[in-house]
């Protein structure tokens, strides 16, 4: 029994326990404890994240001549800890008053808890996979587990988007299966290292097909362009904490497999040799990543539902991760990998704030909120920290990872990708400002006058996550050793790091200093503000300039709808729904063939075909006899 076996056992027992007790109240208390236990098991294995040996599971399955085994590398551990922390936060979040409200509104709380642990279980299984078959099984498990989570929401739209998701996921799984089969058919082995070996033996066209198949499979999960359509709506419609969990980590399983398969075994050399002149696979993937940062971000800018806005940003941020890792250098890949954790932390926190707002006000429509900062200051604080992280501004952790990606693009001389990344960031800033402005700033609506701060069971995970957002931004050196071991384990150049950030010959980053200076600046600013100026007077929100009118509670004096008219006036015409068009046309093509075949079944063509067959056969007989006799 190795530590990894213990981990699997604990996760499995948790799965059993929660599924058995899911309809009892005790599951509220039990679930966080169990996730805590899983976390402890993971921490016990933390040596792997500091350059220690890979943990192997003593269990291996021999099924149908396939040998399946499991292992935990630094990469697995890194993704696993993010998963479990996200699950812990979500479990705590839903354990108290939110869960009560969810039950009262007719939600199936037990199923939600079950879906969460099923997700964690399948993700750990995927992360622990030791060969291509166990990878595939874990992969399918994760897809179906997410599906389980998504269908829990009672709305029709949620179910529709979940079905859409599962069709996408199945497409991805099938692509993965073909890729695995391609590898198996060369050497009759499903070990990971076969990928690299087989890849070198293949012809160029097979190599291209293999890389594309793997990439399609992983891109679908991660919601990269052009497979991004399923994700945002599906995640946004998932019930509260489930959305936080899925948005935080679920689609990053695609990132895990990209690192595991494409980065580790196919590698930069493999990608670069595929292509003509300056367009090779690496540039192609990099541009996919860049477009993924831009397009979903600007779609997010258009949303007026907070959850959907965040979910679209989740899609967009995936682009940064791929952009970083695809650069294959120490800083870029570190940035891409680190962005997984950073994104998970602030995305979960942000989703939770939106859910908290929904918990109190019942809506996440950005046109129906406003001014909640006075009622829910701590939630506001969490959202502020979260959006600074999401926008990638100092001193939060999103800045560090984005900085690394930018730095890598700079070092590699990729101005257009650099601009694309910046365009994404700027779009994010615009969009998240709209989020926080329309939710917390501006005029407080009359019906929200009595809204209170959410209870502690919801605040604690939110605050905890925002502390992570801040601490890992302030001291990225806490995370960077993990990243370095991941890089080492997948054969990337290892980043030189210290507690405050990275060392790099042509300009490094030290977040302790940077944040310190920033806070020093804020301190000085506060000093100037509070001690040098006169005393300010707090006024009511209706005491406001209104061009001579008097504001009363029945006057809506708030700017929220179509927040960026100038920008939309310019770029609005570019939202053509091309991808949706593409999706619809695929459906139309299937439909066309479907009608075609349906008519074949209805018409007399079968007899016609029979006739042709018989004529041919008898002709053959006749010829045969005629010539023979």
């Amino acid at each position: 029994m190795t530590f990894l076996d213990h981990l699997f056992i604990v996760v499995f027992i948790s799965l059993i326990a929660i599924s058995a007790l899911r309809n009892l109240r005790i599951v509220d208390k039990l679930a966080p404890v169990l996730y805590g236990l899983i976390l402890i098991m993971l921490v016990r294995m933390s040596s792997v994240a500091y350059g220690g040996d890979v943990y192997l599971s003593s269990v291996s399955l021999d099924l149908l001549d396939f040998k399946m085994h499991w292992q935990f590398t630094a990469l697995s551990w890194y993704f696993a800890i993010i998963t479990v922390v996200a699950a812990l936060a979500s479990a705590v979040f839903m354990s108290g008053d939110w869960g009560r409200q969810y039950r009262e509104q007719g939600g199936n709380y037990g199923m939600l808890q079950l879906a969460l642990i099923v997700n964690v279980f399948s993700m750990i299984l995927l992360l622990g996979s030791g060969d291509l078959l166990s990878l595939f099984i874990g992969w399918e498990f994760v897809s179906w587990a997410s599906f389980l989570m998504m269908v829990l929401s009672p709305t029709k739209l949620a179910k529709k988007s979940a079905v859409k998701y599962i069709v996408y996921a199945m497409t991805g799984a099938m692509a993965l299966m073909v890729a695995i089969v391609m590898i198996y058919s060369v050497n009759n082995s499903l070990e990971f290292k076969q990928i690299g070996e087989v890849f070198t033996q293949m012809s160029t066209s097979s190599q291209l097909a293999l890389v594309l198949l793997f990439f399609v499979a992983f891109a679908i999960k991660m919601g990269l362009l052009p497979f991004h359509l399923w994700q945002a709506i599906a995640y946004a419609e998932t019930p509260g904490p489930g959305a936080a969990f899925l948005g935080a980590i679920s689609s990053r399983m695609g990132m895990f497999t990209i690192v595991l398969v494409i980065v580790q075994f196919i590698g930069l050399g493999g990608l670069k040799q595929l292509g003509i002149s300056f367009v090779n696979m690496q540039t192609l993937l990099a541009w996919v990543a860049a477009l993924t940062t831009i397009i979903p971000t600007y779609i997010a800018l258009q949303q007026h539902d907070a959850k959907r806005l965040l979910a679209w940003h989740g899609v967009g941020q995936g682009g940064y991760m791929l952009l970083g890792i695809i650069m294959f250098d120490s800083i870029g890949s570190a940035g891409g990998l680190m962005h997984v954790l950073n994104h998970a932390s602030y995305q979960a926190a942000l989703f939770m704030t939106v859910v908290a707002v929904m918990y109190r006000t019942g809506t996440s429509d950005l046109n129906k909120l406003g001014g909640l900062v006075t009622q829910m200051p701590l939630t506001f604080l969490v959202m502020l920290i979260g959006i600074i992280g999401l926008a990638g501004l100092p001193p939060m952790n999103g800045f560090v990872s984005k900085w690394l990606v930018y730095r890598s693009l700079l070092v590699n001389g990729q101005p257009l990708l650099f601009v694309a990344a910046v365009l994404g960031t700027l779009g994010t800033i615009l969009s998240v400002y709209k989020l926080i402005h329309n939710t917390f700033l501006g005029q407080l609506r009359l019906e929200h006058q009595n809204v209170r701060e959410v209870p502690w069971s919801m605040l604690v995970p939110m605050l905890g996550l925002s502390i992570i957002v801040f601490i890992t931004g302030f001291m990225p050196g806490l995370i960077l050793p993990w990243i370095a071991s991941v890089q080492e384990s997948v054969g990337l150049p290892v980043i030189a790091h210290h507690l405050g950030g990275i060392e790099y010959a042509k300009g490094g980053l030290d977040m302790i200093w940077v944040s310190g200076i920033l806070f020093y600046g804020f301190g000085v600013g506060a000093l100037i503000f509070y001690f040098l100026g006169g005393k300010s007077k707090r006024v009511h929100q209706y005491d406001n300039y209104a061009g001579g009118h008097f504001l009363t509670s029945d006057v809506r004096y708030h700017y929220s709808n179509n927040f960026y008219p100038g920008l939309m006036h310019l770029i609005g015409g570019w939202y053509r729904g091309s991808f949706k068009w593409l999706e619809n046309s695929i459906v139309s093509v299937v439909s066309f063939f479907s009608i075609f075949f349906e008519n074949i079944y209805r018409a007399k063509q079968p007899v016609m075909l029979l006739l042709i067959g018989v004529v041919l056969a008898l002709f053959a007989l006749y010829r045969n006899l005629g010539v023979g006799a």
């Binding site: 099984i137 079905v163 069709v167 692509a175 299966m177 063939f593 079944y601 029979l610 053959a620």
Partner: protein
């Protein structure tokens, strides 16, 4: 060993005496059939143990092959004999008033046993025709309550036309074979494959394949499927889709493995299989009620089985057999519970809330059908695709792509359906058929078998592999049936 002849004789006999018995005691006539089938089951079990890993040939009527009638018995044929007995027992028409129906069912089982056991081409033809006649009769005599009797009759008639045309083609194929070789004993044919190598031999195979393909829901000749399944009771659909189609497949496979081991023949199966898969899934995608969906999905699954058999040698048989068993369980189970899901799918909203168990059983079936791990369907699909990839050759790669594309389409329509089951009920929803019929119990049993087999994937697969290795070998076949003949041109 000769007692196995009773497998065919007993039901045949029962079929003839049941109308007579019914005159005196309807009760007795009702139970005659099940009793006969139970006896058959016992016979099969004892034979299974006796045959062990080997095989036996039974010579009837005192003539020795290649002239006489031969039954060939190995685990493969015994397995399917057992399935016939079990399946007919499950769908036995307990509530039918007419004894005629019992006779027809007995006739059907007699023909099925004969079809599985015969080692002679003409006997195969006779049993095939017998099976066909029994089927037409059963279809015409088993209306569902709501549909007027005549629509079943009309469907049966349309089925009769296409199926009879198929039978005639089968006969033509046999005629061609006889012209070319002068024998109809399969083992004898297996020793003289060179004379069947040409285009004429291939066309004989094509005629047999397409002729039998009518029952096996093979691509161009399966337009009857939706009509017939739409008008007959679901239990009967389960029997036809689950079992009868497989028997026709077995006929084709016997010919393929023993006689026509030519690449062109494999390619032919591969192509019709691919067309069946893609066309079936495509049409099912547009279906708006469960029966139609299942009918076309069944066509697609049969296509998958044909693709599996296009893999040469025992591997093809192994995977094809696994697919057949899986499809029998899944499609049989789905048809058995289809009564609860009948009607326009839009009206099934809220069903999952109403009877969560039924929805869960349904989910187990469809997930296995889609090939989701860890259900058995996944392993079969994986094996199929891995082995197709090993075959090499462009057509096999196209087949892989087809299967995977079809899986995606299948996911789309199945989950469109599942989504509706799990939606909130509204005014439009029909009240759910709550009476717990025996067929639903059997569906649950099937699901349970499926789930249990999940745990024993490896042993089951190994066992099937052994059976396949044994049954796919023309050597053993020839040696058993024609011990005196040497294996001529086959190395």
């Amino acid at each position: 060993m000769n007692s196995l002849v009773l497998l065919v004789v007993l039901p045949l006999f029962a079929a003839f005496i049941i109308p007579v018995v019914a005159k005196f005691s309807p009760k007795l006539s009702l139970f005659t059939g099940p009793v006969v089938l139970c006896i058959n089951l016992l016979l099969i079990m004892s034979a299974w143990i006796k045959v062990g890993s080997g095989s036996e040939a039974i010579f009837l009527g005192g003539f020795l092959p290649p002239v006489g009638i031969v039954f060939y018995i190995d685990h493969f044929s015994l397995l399917f004999s057992g399935l016939i007995a079990g399946m007919v027992l499950i769908v036995w028409p307990w509530d039918a008033k007419e004894s005629r129906l019992y006779s027809l069912y007995m006739l059907l089982s007699a023909a099925s046993f004969g079809l599985v056991l015969s080692a002679d081409l003409f006997n195969l033809y006779v049993f095939y025709e017998l099976l066909a006649v029994a089927t037409y009769g059963i279809i015409a005599a088993s209306p569902i309550s709501k549909v007027p009797n005549s629509s079943a009759t009309a469907a049966s008639l349309r089925y009769l036309f296409i199926s009879s045309a198929g039978s005639v083609m089968l006969l033509l194929g046999i005629a061609i074979i006889y012209t070319l070789t002068g024998t109809l004993n399969i083992a004898h044919l297996a020793t003289m494959t060179t004379s069947l190598d040409g285009f004429a031999g291939l066309s004989a195979f094509a005629l047999i394949a397409i002729g039998a393909g009518v029952k096996a829901e093979m691509f161009p000749v399966n337009s009857w499927v939706a009509e017939v399944y739409g008008t007959i009771p679901r239990q009967l659909s389960a029997l036809l889709a689950g079992l009868v189609s497989k028997l026709a497949v077995i006929l084709i496979i016997r010919m393929l493995l023993m006689v026509f081991q030519q690449q062109a023949a494999f390619d032919l199966l591969l192509v019709v299989g691919m067309l069946g898969v893609i066309s079936g899934e495509m049409v099912a995608w547009r279906a708006k009620d469960m029966i139609r969906m299942l009918s076309f999905s069944s066509i697609a699954q049969l296509g998958l089985i044909f693709i599996a058999f296009s893999i040469a040698g025992s591997k093809g048989l192994w995977i094809g057999m696994a697919l057949m068993l899986h499809h029998l369980l899944v499609k049989g189970g789905l048809f058995l519970m289809a009564d609860r899901f009948a009607g326009h799918m839009g009206k099934l909203k809220g069903l999952a809330k109403h009877s969560p168990m039924a929805a869960a059983v349904f989910l187990v079936f469809v997930l296995s059908l889609l090939g989701v791990p860890p259900f058995p369907g996944f392993w079969i699909k994986l094996l199929l695709i891995l082995n197709l990839a090993e075959q090499g050759g462009g057509l096999y790669h196209v087949a892989i792509a087809t299967i995977l594309l079809a899986t995606v389409i299948e996911t789309a329509y199945i989950f469109k359906f599942v989504r509706i089951l799990y939606q909130k009920a509204d005014a439009d929803s029909t009240p759910i058929n709550k009476n717990y019929s025996s067929s639903y119990t059997f569906a649950k049993l099937f699901a349970l078998i499926l789930l249990v087999s999940m745990l024993f994937v490896s042993p089951i697969s190994n066992h099937l592999k052994d059976i396949a290795n044994h049954s796919a070998s023309p050597h053993i076949y020839i040696n058993k049936i024609l011990p005196t003949k040497q294996l001529g041109d086959r190395s």
